[in-house]
Amino acid sequence: MSRRFINLRPGRGGRIAWGALPFVIAIAVYFAFSAVRLADNPNDKLLPGLASFGAAIDRMAFTRDMRTGDILLWLDTFASLQRLLLGLGAATILGLVIGISIGVIPYIRAGLSPFVAVLSMIPPMAVLPILFIVFGLEELSKVVLIVIGVSPFLIRDLALRVREMPNELLIKAETLGASTWQIILRVILPQTLPRLADSLRLSLGPAWLFLISAEAIAATDGLGYRIFLMRRYLAMDVILPYVAWITILAFVMDWLLRLFNRRCFPWLATGEA
């Protein structure tokens, strides 16, 4: 008798091969269609071939711009990452402080939790014009958009996580003589930080979305700005490498947060007590 499918597992090599397969298929399909179109019209811009990509990457990432003397990819990357990290950093601090306060202190929960619940329902993109009016078209409005977009989620997620903690642990800390502040510092915070890193990983997607939207609308540099600028010239040979680059950056950030959890919280790997 053959075994059930749910019991058949790929080996180590098999997992790598199966994991690589969709990538290989996607790339093969792209270049197949690209070859067909290029055979028809060597100047086709929609699905450029390897040579065009190579030239575009060389132009954007390794050659100084003739007008400004900047290397555009690095300029854009630096500008975008700065906005993203500032926004995520501010959102993280807000999430930690407000989320834990709402979770731990009943009076703050009663006061803030309905307000945050309503706030989190406002579509951030809908207030982007307001941000442009209030904070101007410079850096601040883009950072604030990320903060507004991400922090309500972080706040609510952390507050929930704190409330999920077994009440017994808090009572136990009280019987050991801990004050509210000591409980937050020694019991709540260490147990919510890993969750914070996980929520941040989930927030990376929305954060990039808000960043690129804001850059598309009003910016003079940044990865999102460049992509939308290049759209006017139908420059797929630049847009596609930029998209790949953004994906790599997001993936690395996700991986770093996962590494942070594994390194800083060895007790996580030991499972639930």
């Binding site: 077994p166 017994e168 136990k172 019987t175 003589g177 510092l185 007790w267």
Partner: protein, 245 residues
């Protein structure tokens, strides 16, 4: 000294009386076991002793004074689960109470102060038989070892009362027997007054110097919540000392 008086205690929830007319005088150093059927208020009584809830009427006095309205270091507790902090090692869990006392701002001690509390913690860890596991995290310990840790963590603050809420309910018989010996020894050494909730009659009579059974004396079949439980039997038990050294 850790003498407990319960004066005409009532605990009511909306539409339901849980405890009524509970009166007790417990002298210092007693080992009280609370037994009774499920839902008869013995855990509620323990929660009242812990100040997790406030009685509707009446009062509990500890050494002649009404209990504070919130849990504190005068009353230690071991629950059936979630009694230890999963993010701290065995040593970290045990020194925590001393760190709270010694460092109001950070709840964490450093340097010589830390070495001192670790030395103190190591003695307690040794006493509960966890010396070989002192750097492990709770999730790496068996259920019995976790409860030993919970007891060690509680005793380091030298509470007047030790409250145990079905602490051995999830343990296997062999481990239970070891825990009985441990708890008995620590109870004698620390001279602490113990209140323990259990379902297990045999466990109760093995450990207790006093067995308190909770049950309802009046039942209205049309309104099951109308009457609460009270202490129906209050037995002093002579412990067979040779059985549990």
């Amino acid at each position: 000294m850790s003498q407990v008086s319960v004066r005409n205690l009532w605990m009511e929830y909306p539409g339901q009386v849980v405890l009524e007319r509970v009166n007790l005088e417990i002298p210092s150093g007693e080992f009280c076991v609370l037994i009774g059927p499920s839902g008869c208020g013995k855990t509620t009584f323990l929660r009242l002793l812990l100040s997790m809830e406030q009685p509707t009427r009446g009062a509990i006095l500890l050494d002649g004074e009404t209990l504070p309205r919130e849990p504190g270091p005068d009353r230690g507790v071991v629950f059936q689960r979630y009694s230890v902090f999963p993010h701290l090692t065995v040593v970290g869990n045990v020194i925590l109470g001393l760190e709270f006392a010694g460092s109001p701002a950070l709840g964490k001690l450093f340097g010589a102060a830390r070495r001192n509390v670790i030395a103190e913690a190591d003695r307690v860890i040794e006493a509960v038989g966890l010396a070989s596991a002192r750097d492990k995290y709770p999730a790496q310990l068996s259920g019995g070892m976790q409860q030993r840790l919970a007891i060690a963590q509680t005793l380091i603050r030298k509470p007047k009362l030790l409250l145990l809420d079905e602490p051995f309910g999830a343990l296997d018989p062999g481990t239970k027997q070891q825990m009985y010996e441990l708890v008995t020894r620590l109870w004698r050494e620390e001279k602490v007054t113990v209140f323990m909730v259990t379902h297990d009659l045999k466990e109760g009579f093995t450990l207790a110097t006093r067995v308190l059974t909770f049950d309802k004396v009046r039942i209205d079949p049309d309104a099951p919540g109308a009457y609460g439980a009270t202490v129906t039997f209050d037995l002093s038990v002579k412990r067979q000392k040779d059985k549990l050294a």
